[in-house]
Amino acid sequence: MQHHHLTAREWDKLAADPQFQALLRERRRFVIPASIFFLLFYLSLPIGIAIAPTFMGKPAFGGLTVAFALGLLQFVMAWGVLFLYMREAKIFDLKAEAIATRAHEEFAP
């Protein structure tokens, strides 16, 4: 069991707080679509290779095959999602801090 200063009732009250619920919703609105997107984008590469290995081995450009070019695109995708999340998370941080500060004032011993 973790140490904590708040009672179960106080935690429940915080969890039900409209500001907190709004933060959860906003988080989910970013995290769920982003996760589905990156997992599908990533798995499409091995699935593509499994379905059409010959096509994936064809030359694309600059000496790269289709598979290799799509593989490099995965790097761009990963860094892109990272960038978007880092930008979004700054807003989550502010809201989380506001909730934490308010809770400290309200429930301070």
Binding site: Q2, T65, Q74, L82, E97
Partner: protein
């Protein structure tokens, strides 16, 4: 042993000893030993996470796989980078806020109870052990390559003993700093080597890729012989190639979020924000590093030639080998000896990187690369040992055996003792498994991590109804099925395999997830539901995380 190699190895070990000496005075509590007092900054932690990932297995293993199998080796690099999105979006921040020392802290947060903790500790121990064996096998290859008089088993033992010194005296703080220094050195070495490869092709990517398409590689079956390194299918071929590749992809992209030694790194930072920033640093560094490994791998295939990647045997030893061990191949081997001055009796994909360094930069660069790879292994294995020993000392000993009544000194003593035991067991296993490609061995560790830890971890953080029974059954199903399928796979049973795929994740992960859902719906768990508000508020705001 060449003088350069000896000097480099000594220098690197000396740097590590200084760091350990500095850290030793600062990790006298169990909190310091496990998490460096949560005082590591996001940037430093990011470099250390990158260090955990730029392991010997990825540096030596991926370079080797790409040299021999081209694109199929590159798939590992892609999976390992994208995997950090799983950690970033779903795990890192809530994990940082909800846990203190171990993964079991998080899964057991509201699912408190002895069973959950025992199982979470068991999965941690299994995964870290598998992972550690892969690293030790890499250590054996590299030391044996450089110091031919030291046989692989002895090399593995030396490496294991050095690592124990790191952990026993330095704890998490020393391990983190050794990782940071090593990441810098490894990135520098990879960059230097990649520039030399590209210089060889006058910085023309066109002619570099063209050469890679024409490089001779290992042809395993009929159709593969016609594939070049830029095309998929050289490693994953045969009737189940597609499924095998997809299964590996699932293991890689989800497994990272279940690796105890990576997850544990998020307990070393002061806030969820710092946890997030450490991933941003890590993903940048790891991405660049993996692009460099591809250049090095294709470079090794084109410049060194896969035929020459392995232990070089020259002079009397070569003649003895030709006459006594393999006389049926005598004409071909003799011709090789005349042409190159050495023969390569067995190819070993793990040594592609140092041989490339030798070909491009001479023995000094090769010695540098080998010493970096060696220090990498030590640092990663040290991190793994901390993860394993904390699972034993904190979860099993302190929480389960002693019911949280053991003192600080006893905990630290048990942590160090279990580090010793974990080290000894993995040394023994690595000696048995030497010679296997280390990136491939890691793929199995990732499958177990993805199946045993990830469903239980993510569901316990997000699903109010999730129960203790469900956590235990999901971990048991994931761990049991992934290990069983590996035991029945071609990896272990070769042509008598009962399960046709090399990597079990495509079956074991969905199974663990399904079991988690079914068990949750079976029976409600009021205690677990009651604790959910606290977990949710704490995970998302950091309230109550500092105690």
């Amino acid at each position: 042993m060449s003088h350069e190699t000896l000097i480099m190895f000594t220098l690197f070990v000396a740097i590590a000893v200084v760091v350990i000496y500095w850290a030793a005075g600062r990790s006298t509590s169990s909190r310091g030993f496990y998490t460096a007092h949560r005082e590591i900054s996001g940037m430093h932690n990011g470099w250390a996470i990158a260090g955990d990932y730029m392991s010997a297995a990825s540096f030596l293993g991926i370079t080797g796989l790409i040299a021999f199998y081209g694109f199929d080796g590159f798939m590992y690099a892609i999976g390992w980078l994208v995997a950090y999105l799983t950690v970033l979006l779903l795990v890192a921040e809530p994990l940082r806020n909800a846990g203190r020392y171990t993964v079991a802290d998080v899964i057991g947060f509201r699912l408190g109870g002895r069973g959950v903790r025992a199982f979470a500790a068991l999965t941690t121990l299994t995964i870290t052990m598998l992972y550690m064996v892969a690293q030790m096998v890499g250590a054996g290859s590299i030391i044996n390559l450089l110091v031919q008089r030291i046989s692989e088993p002895i090399a593995i033992v030396i490496c294991g003993l050095l690592m124990m010194v790191y952990v026993l005296f330095g704890g998490m703080l020393a391990t983190t700093w050794v990782q940071i220094i090593k990441s810098g050195l490894l990135l520098f070495a990879s960059l230097a080597l990649s520039v030399l490869v590209l210089l060889h092709f006058n910085f023309s990517f066109g002619s570099f890729f063209a050469a890679a398409s024409h490089a001779a590689g290992t042809a395993t079956t009929g159709t593969v012989g016609t594939l070049n390194l830029m095309q998929p299918g050289r490693y994953f071929n045969g009737p189940h190639a597609g499924l095998d590749l997809i299964s590996l992809a699932v293991a890689l992209v989800l497994g990272t979020a279940g690796l105890p030694h990576i997850l544990m790194r998020f307990f070393t930072v002061p806030s969820a924000k710092a946890a997030r920033h450490s991933i941003a640093w890590a993903m940048t560094l790891i991405g660049v590093f993996f692009l460099l490994t591809s250049v090095m791998g294709l470079g090794a295939a084109t410049i060194v030639g896969t035929h020459h990647i392995g232990k070089h045997v020259a002079n009397v030893e070569a003649i003895r080998y030709i006459n006594f061990t393999d006389p049926s191949n005598a004409p071909a081997l003799n011709a090789e000896l005349r042409e190159f001055g050495y023969i390569v009796p067995h190819q070993d994909s793990n040594v592609a990187a140092p041989l490339l360094a030798d070909a491009l930069g001479g023995s000094l660069l090769a010695a540098f690369i080998a010493a970096v790879a060696f220090s990498t292994i030590l640092a990663v294995v040290a991190g793994l040992t901390i993860a394993a020993s904390s699972a034993f000392a904190h979860d099993i000993w302190y929480t389960l055996v002693r019911n949280k009544s053991s003192g600080e000194r006893e905990q630290l003593f048990v942590a160090r003792l279990s580090a010793l035991a974990v080290g000894a067991i993995s040394i023994a296993l690595a000696v048995k498994l030497r010679g296997m490609n280390v990136a491939f061995l890691l793929g199995l560790a990732f499958a177990v991590a993805a199946s045993a830890n990830v469903p239980a971890l993510i569901l316990s953080l997000t699903w109010k109804r999730f129960t203790r029974l469900a956590a235990i059954s999901s971990m048991a199903a994931g761990l049991g099925s992934s290990l069983l399928l590996i035991a029945l796979s071609p990896v272990v049973l070769h042509e008598h395999a009962i399960f046709p795929l090399q990597n079990p994740a495509i079956v074991s992960f969905p199974l663990a997830l399904l079991v988690a859902f079914l068990a949750t719906l079976l029976k409600r768990d009021p205690q677990s539901e009651a604790m959910f508000s606290q977990l949710q508020v704490r995970a998302n705001t950091g309230l109550g995380a500092e105690v």
